[in-house]
């Protein structure tokens, strides 16, 4: 075996720095029970988005349907990726921001959630799906896809809390919310939000 060298010191423990650079936000919004999108449909729709989208650069669609518990159909863009995702054995739309967003962390979170919800709405309204697909807005998974800047720690959670509270207050109009985090240090920083009540994506977009 190759003998690994020791890990270099990683940045990421300074929560102030982290909150100034909160980027690479991922947002997953799950399909409603009874809704489903086939990988063939997703492939067709995402390819159409490449030509129909004017406000960002979308590049390619990758099919990973041979790996059942993973990204199924991936729309790769320069600024962001959009994915029909089943990584946690539950289908949903995963929005993954890659390029920096502008504004303070609250504004960045708001932009990421807004874009994810808009993508869900676009899927719900896709003619190929004949209006049969709905997303459930009351559950959102947040992931910060940057272990170097935002480790999966209590400190990160504490630093993120006020920004998330501000966002969720607007989004769910004061409805009670709970947040769970998988604390496994090997995982990226993550928070699963559950809001009390039922929220569709159109209503949530109106709240932002």
């Amino acid at each position: 075996m190759l003998r690994p060298r020791e890990h270099g010191k990683r940045p990421g423990n300074d929560v102030t720095v982290m909150m100034e650079t909160l980027q690479k936000i991922q947002v997953k919004i799950y399909l409603d029970e009874g809704s489903s999108v086939s990988t063939d449909d997703a492939f067709r729709i995402f390819n159409k988005w490449i030509t129909d989208t004017t406000d960002e650069v979308l590049i390619d669609v990758a099919d990973y349907s041979h790996l059942p518990a993973g990204p199924q159909t991936l729309l790769v863009g320069h600024e962001s990726n959009y994915c029909l995702d089943n990584t946690d054995h539950r289908f949903g739309l995963l929005y993954a921001r890659k390029q920096p967003l502008s504004g303070d962390p609250t504004a960045c979170l708001k932009q990421a959630v807004g874009t994810a919800l808009a993508a869900c709405k676009r899927l719900e309204e896709a003619p190929e799906l004949e209006g049969k697909v709905k997303f459930r807005g009351e559950e959102i998974l947040f992931v910060v896809n940057d272990r170097l800047q935002t480790p999966n720690s209590d400190e990160s959670a504490k630093a993120l809390q006020p920004h998330l509270d501000a966002l969720l207050g607007d989004l769910y109009q004061g409805a009670p919310v709970t947040a769970e985090r998988d604390p496994d240090p090997k995982q990226r920083f993550n928070l699963r939000i559950h809001a009390q009540g039922a929220f569709d994506v159109t209503a949530l977009l109106g709240h932002l």
Binding site: M1, L2, P4, R44, Y64, L67, D146, R147, L148, R188
Partner: protein
């Protein structure tokens, strides 16, 4: 895409964890194992490259020279050290070779890449030395009662458009001479190998041009001039530094309860080690892919059963070595929970494919799409498949460059396209007669192009013919040999027909892609690592056609050989015309006329000495037609075609260079 070198495929759990992290943070959450034991991540941003490389370096991994014209990843049998048939463990030698040549000044001036492989024995497939630029097979000899270790060394093998079987360089290179002799080979290649024409720049062309005896003489001469380097032998003091340890004592299976599916998995995915009580467990990766989540979880599983003894394989799988046999049922259950307990490793179900049109712009047809379809269909019929069929290998490349190693498969395919009524239809050439065993002991040949849609039927028809017509214990390779390629071709003839778009539009779509097929996005090759212009790409295709003409000649099909040679030449002329007129039609009269006006009359296609000699080959054949030719005429046509293509390459180089100079 970033290609990450994994010398001899060796991975530890810390490296697996990091690869999983990088897949998530910079790529698309997919880690892809390649046919040369590398790892590839796709869809990366160049901005992330620095962080990615720094993090790889922190766990002892480099991407340096994973691409480019240098010594690529050094591959080795994944069973090295635990195999029943090996002479000795090649792991420390493969590692020493990789470390010695990494960044070495003598390997920085190659005209093309240099692939090397190590195998512990001659009879199995694991090292695939026959298709490498340099292949080393472990051998021993006894002199004065003392056993010596050494290597049977091969050079000049390679797949690509026109495959070359490696030539025996030396029956026994001592372990002390392995690195210096290899270095001398590298120096001769760097000095005399082609540089300008990258399609002729692999060492196989140099060996073919010089002849193996002259090449050996030059290497021996070079060896005498080289200054001593202590690294040639210093690693020999630490050969046991690579000895692996087991996490648990080796114990046989104790008859405890096993999960459903365990028996089928064990039959194909477990290899009993030479060391009693231990086994190698293979993880079948569909299309070589594993998700970040799976890889991280697998790393945890490894920590419970083995000690950092994981390797990637050239069949795009992973193997866990030193598993106590008594742990196999528990390991199976844990793998099953992760979706990693697929049976069928190294069988017909385990279809190998290059990235193809998914991410490589040289790809013509969807190799991964076809592989996925074949896997699904074969899995559905798994319980009824004949045992002889289960052991076959299917390998698929998206183009003729053979990154999917289609030449070495029992049944191989490579992507091509055909224009049907003005619409491009995805096809695959069917390649048969290859031999995976004996380190890729022989290479198959194309028997004809079949629409992608019909390829699953090709597999069904070939395997059914094998089952019903084989004689005794005849192997598939022997069956193909006895039946003959012509009969095989006839067997598939009806599958070559393409219905009109109106009759069945599905023929005009590639597997795994709901869009209408196009080759309009071809251009830069993923594996080539640099721009391959369209004209050069098409000239390489012409070489393939010329090669097929040679085969027809060997089969005494003189008219067909003559005709194939003529069309290869015509397509080479067309490739040149396309530099000026992209939409030149597939009409021989138009091609000849345009070629004459644009390249002959302008003297662009003139050789400094032979003048228009090569152009006249084409003009004469166009005038005489392709019917009624004897062996001599066909033979001459094949020879002339090769010369014409060479001249076309030179013309292309000259014109493109002058064009580049004019714009600077």
């Amino acid at each position: 895409m970033v290609r990450i070198k994994i010398p001899f495929g060796g991975l530890n759990t810390e490296q697996m964890d990091l690869l999983a992290d990088l897949g998530e943070e910079y790529s698309d959450e997919i880690i892809h194992v390649t046919t040369r034991q590398d790892v590839q991540l796709h869809y990366l941003h160049i901005d992330d490259a620095v962080d990615l490389m720094r993090r790889l370096a922190a766990v002892g991994i480099t991407t340096r020279e994973a691409c480019g014209n240098s010594v690529r990843n050094v591959t080795a049998c994944p069973l090295s050290g635990v195999c029943h048939t090996e002479s000795f463990d090649v792991t420390p030698y493969a590692n020493a070779f990789a470390q010695f040549f990494l960044g070495h000044p003598d390997v920085q001036d190659f005209g093309r890449k240099f692939k090397s492989a190590f195998s512990g024995c001659k009879q199995e497939a694991c090292g695939l030395t026959n298709m490498h630029d340099l292949g080393a097979i472990a051998v021993t000899r006894t002199i004065d009662g003392v056993e010596q270790r050494g290597f049977e060394l091969y050079v000049g093998g390679g797949l690509g458009a026109v495959p070359h079987e490696a030539k025996l360089f030396d029956e026994f290179v001592t372990q002390e001479e392995l690195l210096p002799v290899s270095q001398a080979i590298a120096r001769v290649f760097a000095r005399l190998g082609e540089k300008a024409n990258r399609a002729r720049a692999r060492i196989k062309f140099l060996v073919a041009k010089l002849g193996i005896e002259e090449f050996k003489r030059l290497v021996a001469e070079e060896r005498q001039t080289m200054p001593f380097d202590p690294r040639w032998t210093s690693y020999l003091d630490d050969l046991h530094g690579f000895d692996e340890e087991a996490l648990k004592p080796g114990q046989a299976l104790n008859g405890s309860d096993v999960a459903e599916g365990f028996a089928a998995w064990r039959e194909t995915n477990v290899y009993p080690q030479r060391q009693p009580g231990y086994a190698v467990a293979a993880i079948t990766l569909p299309l070589g892919d594993i998700t970040s989540s799976q890889l991280r979880a697998l790393s945890d599983v490894c920590g419970r059963y083995v000690k950092d003894t994981v390797r990637t394989t050239v069949e795009q799988n992973l193997v866990l070595r030193w598993v106590s046999e008594s742990d196999l049922p528990a390991l199976y259950s844990e793998l099953d929970d992760l979706g990693l307990a697929l049976p069928g490793a190294s069988t017909i179900f385990d279809v190998t494919a290059c990235p193809g049109t998914d991410t490589c712009k040289l790809g013509i047809a969807s190799s991964r799409g076809l592989a996925g379809e074949l896997r699904t269909r074969l899995a559905e019929s798994a319980h009824t498949l004949d045992e002889g069929v289960k052991g076959l290998r299917i390998k698929i490349s998206g183009c003729f460059n053979s990154c999917g190693q289609h030449h070495a498969a029992d049944i191989g395919f490579y992507g091509v396209s055909r224009k049907i009524n003005g619409i491009t239809v995805p096809h695959f050439q069917v390649v048969i007669g290859g031999k995976w065993k004996e380190n890729a002991g022989s290479f198959g040949l194309a028997v004809g192009a079949v629409p992608s849609k019909n390829i699953p039927l090709v597999v069904t028809r070939l395997t059914e013919a094998f089952v019903t017509q084989r004689q005794g214990d005849e192997s598939f390779h022997a069956f193909i040999d006895r039946t003959g390629k012509r009969a095989i071709k006839e067997m598939l003839d009806d599958l070559t027909a393409v219905p009109t778009y109106e009759e069945d539009s599905s023929y005009y779509h590639d597997w795994g892609d709901t869009r209408e097929f196009t080759i309009g996005d071809m251009g830069k090759g993923e594996c080539a690592g640099e721009v391959v212009p369209l004209a050069q790409f098409e000239l390489t295709a012409c070489e393939r056609e010329a090669f097929e003409a040679q085969i027809l000649l060997d089969e005494s099909e003189f008219e067909e050989a003559y005709s194939s040679a003529y069309w290869a030449m015509l397509h080479a002329a067309k490739a040149l015309v396309k530099m000026q007129w992209l939409d030149v039609p597939e009409d021989e009269g138009v091609i000849v006329k345009e070629f004459t006006e644009r390249f002959v009359e302008t003297e662009l296609f003139f050789d400094p000495f032979a003048k228009d000699k090569f152009a006249r080959y084409l003009l004469r054949m166009h005038q005489t037609g392709t019917n009624g030719h004897s062996h001599d005429a066909a033979h001459r046509a094949v020879e002339e075609t090769q010369l014409f293509i060479e001249a076309a390459y030179r013309c292309y180089d000259r014109v493109s260079t002058e064009s580049a100079q004019a714009t600077t």
